[in-house]
Symmetry: C2
Subunit: 686 residues, 2 copies
């Protein structure tokens, strides 16, 4: 519950306030004072009458009614203080900085529970405990430094780690990135990252609110809510980037199925971010660089012009953009000749446009104008302007400032001379701009942004899927575990997924009759043993009745054999689809080409059920082996539409059969005309 | 030619010196003065008696004998000044800053030639023209800023772009990276990047010289020399990292063979760097980070301990290291329990070791000591210590300083609070340390370094290769272009590469007789048409004489058919080897699995001929599909030793048959026992 008293309190009391600014209780009061909090400030400290010039009370019982309380007192004193403030002082927001709660001991966890009970009873907000606090344009209720420049159009940072939030602000500061708010949720006893996002979504005011959200998370407690509100915010025009740290952990978990081994917990995160449209970052440096890009107008295309007065950085930036699938197109035509006339002799104009080291602000002006107005195939402009120290850059950066204000295409300033032109860069940032001091870091961030898809929405594609039948089948399955082949067949049929015709029997004559009907060649597989191939329980390409009869007899003598299954022998490219239920995330669906592509090359892409057709196509297209699906070097491709259809329908099946914990269809055999499931396994747990 | 007068002149004259430090002729004199040049400084300017306090002469003819001349005068005045100085003033080193030479006009190129003639005649050095100059511990002959901190153990920077050198120094400065020298070679009329490296190699003094070289190049003019001296320096204990910018350009060049299309000019660079043992970087940020890592003791293994007082950065660093194939092993055992006792309650010790936000310098001391002395499975330590601003970090960083001085394992300081603890970080850097302010950038740089192989040397493996035979065959080939099958066979035989038995004839009876001898099934291929498959000129799996006779007749009627080739039909895993001659680099050899692996997945690795066995194995191991070569999921692997042998022998063949411009063996068929070339094409140009 996020109350208005938390966001914009009329009064704040710091409980445990101190004159010593090297203690959290002193530092936070200093930050509140220096942050020009407009409301009333109060302090509580039994030993003082006044703390840092603020009226001080001996105990919370003595304080007048106060909207927000910040607690910097030992953990064991917090429950009572919260109780008194909430019940007697109308306090409806609490920020508890103190550590020593559930993160440390069982007793601490009990204290936390007590506090939560109280704040919930009174409909109050609780940030923390064990956090650095909350910083916004109204109040600086954090005990840490640095305090970034604040701006209602700056970024909202929500972090599950306080120290990381601090270090992210350090990294943002040198880039000129401004903040609207910074939330450190600490133990997140009441308010977690998802709650803050939900609040921002539900209360989004497109005229007033910041459109940039940066997240740092070490675990995703409520993926559904994260997905819902992140997508919704992005649909409303916001842009979100996030670090989910801890991607390398685990991987060692037991997994009984094929898909189980392929799907790491990180593929669930990957799939969630893709579905939500969140740009995934892996470092503070990347997150703040992406944040800086977000402050500029949105890119409408992938074609960049580079304007510079130094060759090298332009070349390195071109490399980085091309590596990320973006373009630095060659410029051509009469307008280019016109531009050349207006620059210094020797200036290079093919793109990068190099106005030379002796190029003036006017040359910058002209080059940017041409890129904005004359070159239709340019979507955005990078301006790389450092200095070897001969002249100051004030005029150049003032020109850049003017161009950024008026250019209708996004214009990225790359100012590498942060030391030599330190003062000039500072002045430029003070005008509200950001700076990308390393061109390749910018290029990489842009690729990440441009390659993140739009939010996919959460609509379930029902066409072709018989949901009541799915439920009937699932409900009729007697045991947990891998389910019998006829259940698998029935579920795939109900989901509208084509399955190879097959027949299971322990009776030789029946089997032969089926094979005659479906026509040879056929495949025979033993029913019973789990690892069929290993015991010689699979025979391909059986061309006649006599051979089938012999194989039937042999297979029925294998240990655990109960029957033999016969299928027509299909040909085609092997495809693979799998799914795994990830706690809290739901089903992660994987697709790829079969065989070595999955097993050796791990060439799979992942999505989170339910999947839209757009997502399914995007998954297929992001396979490294996509060219094989398209058809390559004389080889025909496979029916991509059918493949996408099966991915979508499988994801719908999973949405209505959450009892399915793991499944794979491997292989599907695909031709230009059809994609047919040949073998599938499903494990359920009710 | 690099003279001692260039490296450490006794006297320097700035020609075109100016009192205006906003001009190169003023700025360079200021830098020389501020850099405390110990020798005699002189200036030339017809309008002044003294420039910035330095005695000034009206013309170069008036100057006393001077070792080094820096020219900052118009291009057209340079040749005469150089002539006078070299012939009359014993000047044996020139740095020409001026532009307006070959990079701009033909007339400029002629001026450059004239100057080169003069300096060569007198055995003098020439840096430039069109450069920022040369900076070392003896003299600061650059006109640019910043001037980095100088230290004989700092890095040597050699750059083909002056502005990029300046921006690299900007990026180095904030990290505390110190320099021994910075060379801007400009137009490199006499001295290029390779020459500087050669000089450093041939004059290497292990007691005195810096062991770290950073390079920035946009083209590699003399790959052989770069390879030779870079490898040699690395063998002598140096460490080299380089940016080769322009990796994305081209790719559109015409290529007639399979390998031609696979081998981009960048694979030649990649192969060269791998052979030399150079760490390849792609940005200034990366290059300077790698440079900082190089200042620390060399890593002996891949296992890292992370000591920190903040959780998040430790997790992100762990992710980055694991992604790069490095480890953050779990710590265990009684010594770990002992360590836990000595830290604060709640400290986490599994690795990362989190001494908590309230951890003291003593805790840092203890944790590092345990990692250094007690945990055998730790090769290096990362210390991440920022601050939320409550207390200063002077004591903490003093402790870190002491630990770095005495720790026998490499200890990497990660100090993120560059703003809030700005003074503390500055003091720490002033003690000669570097700082990695972003932990993930460090992790990525470490992976790059650890994954760069050792220099491979340039030894040619002759065993099994009949060099005289190769020369005889090459010399006997009458025409340029794709050579006839029997020449291909003969060359592969001479190189000791097993080739499938084959027989070519236009006579049906002979063909049938061969097939009978070698035993069916066989493969028949038409000889004559270039694209055999496209015209129906390849038939596999011919099982009997009658079938072969029919195919023979059909093929001989195809357009351009001159004969039919018959081979026994082999089975096995398809492998691929190709090579392409790259101007100046020599032969780039590619290997991989055949078919879709090469064509669709571009899963190839490259090396520069001649290749050692170590390199060949390293190429094979770096394939994504290596598991297939090893054998996977019940499928047998292939004979890796034979594959490596063929790669090595092919590279030897190429070394002695540089007339071969393109070739590929595709496929080779590989089993557990043998690897046999089935089809090969070779194009020569004499």
């Amino acid at each position: 519950m996020i109350t208005k008293q938390l966001i914009c309190p009329k009064s704040i009391v710091v409980v445990g306030a101190s004159n010593n600014v090297h203690k959290p209780g002193g530092a936070i009061l200093r930050n509140l004072i220096e942050g020009s909090f407009k409301g009333e400030l109060r302090a509580v400290n039994p030993k003082e009458k006044e703390v840092l010039g603020v009226a001080c009370f001996a105990s919370v019982a003595d304080v007048p009614p106060t909207d927000l309380a910040v607690l910097a007192i030992p953990a064991n004193l917090c429950p009572e203080a919260v109780e008194i403030l909430a019940s007697q002082k109308e306090t409806r927001a609490f920020i508890i900085l103190s550590a020593g709660f559930g993160e440390e001991t069982h007793e601490g966890a009990l204290l936390e529970n007590k506090i939560l009970e109280t704040v919930n009873q009174y409909g109050a907000s609780l940030i923390g405990p064990n956090c650095i606090g909350l910083l916004n344009t109204c109040h600086h209720s954090v005990f840490t430094q640095p305090i970034p420049n604040l701006n209602p159009q700056g970024v909202d940072l929500i972090s599950s780690s306080g120290a990381t939030a601090v270090f992210i602000m350090e990294s943002a500061l040198v880039k000129g990135l401004q903040f609207n708010s910074a939330w450190s949720v600490g133990n997140a006893k009441q308010i977690g990252v998802e709650d803050v996002l939900q609040y921002m979504d539900e209360n989004f005011d497109s005229d007033r609110d910041s459109r940039i959200k940066l997240l740092y998370m070490e675990s995703i407690k409520d993926p559904d809510r994260l997905l819902l509100h992140a997508s919704s915010l992005i649909e409303k025009g916001c842009r979100i980037a996030a670090i989910k740290a801890g991607s390398s952990e685990s991987g060692s978990r037991a997994a009984s199925s094929h898909t189980g081994a392929m799907a790491s917990p990180d593929s669930a995160v990957e799939a969630l971010f893709r579905k939500a449209g969140i740009v995934r970052c892996y470092s503070r440096e990347e997150l703040t660089t992406v944040g800086c890009v977000f402050t500029l107008p949105e890119l409408k295309g992938r074609n960049f012009a580079i304007v510079t007065h130094a060759g090298g950085p332009g070349v390195m930036l071109t490399d980085a953009l091309c590596k990320g699938g973006l373009n630095v197109p060659k410029l051509e035509g009469p307008k280019l000749d016109e531009l050349k006339e207006k620059l210094l002799p020797g200036a290079s104009i093919a793109n990068p446009i190099d106005v030379l080291a002796t190029g003036t602000p006017e040359h910058l002006d002209i080059a940017i104008d041409y890129c904005e107005k004359e070159f239709e195939n340019i979507d955005a402009i990078m301006a790389i302007f450092g200095t070897p120290g001969l002249v100051t850059m004030f005029d150049m950066y003032e020109m850049l400032h003017q161009k950024i204000r008026h250019c209708r295409k996004p214009l990225f300033p790359v100012l590498p001379s942060i030391h030599t032109a330190g003062k000039e860069v500072e002045q430029f940032l003070a005008k509200g701009h950001v700076n990308f001091s390393d061109e390749v870091t910018l290029g990489t961030a842009l690729s990440r942004i441009m390659n993140a898809p739009r939010p996919a929405g959460n609509k379930v594609e029902l066409y072709g899927v018989d949901v009541p039948a799915i439920r009937r089948i699932i409900d009729s399955i007697p045991h947990d575990g891998y389910i019998a082949p006829h259940f698998v067949q029935a579920l795939l049929h109900a989901a509208g997924i084509s399955v190879v015709d097959e027949f299971v029997s322990g009776n030789k004559e029946e089997v032969l009759a089926f094979a005659r009907r479906t026509s040879f060649p056929v495949v025979a597989k033993v029913v019973g043993p789990v690892h069929k191939s290993d015991v010689g329980g699979v025979t391909l390409n059986i061309k006649g009745e006599q051979h089938l009869a012999l194989e039937f007899e042999r297979m029925m003598r294998l240990p655990d054999a109960t029957a033999v299954m016969v299928q027509p022998m299909l040909k085609g490219t092997e495809l693979f689809i799998g799914a795994k239920y990830e706690e809290k995330f739901g089903h992660v669906v994987l697709c790829g080409l079969g065989g070595i592509f999955v097993e050796v090359l791990k060439d799979v892409s992942s999505g989170l059920a339910p999947l839209s057709y757009e997502e399914a196509y995007s998954m297929i297209h992001s396979l490294r082996a996509y060219k094989i699906i398209q058809g390559t070097r004389g080889q025909k491709g496979v029916n991509e539409d059918k493949f996408a259809e099966i991915i979508v329908r499988l994801s719908t099946l999973l949405r209505f059969a959450t009892e399915i914990k793991e499944m794979d269809i491997n292989p599907l055999l695909a031709t230009e005309k059809s994609v047919i499931a040949v073998d599938a396994r499903i494990r359920i747990k009710k």
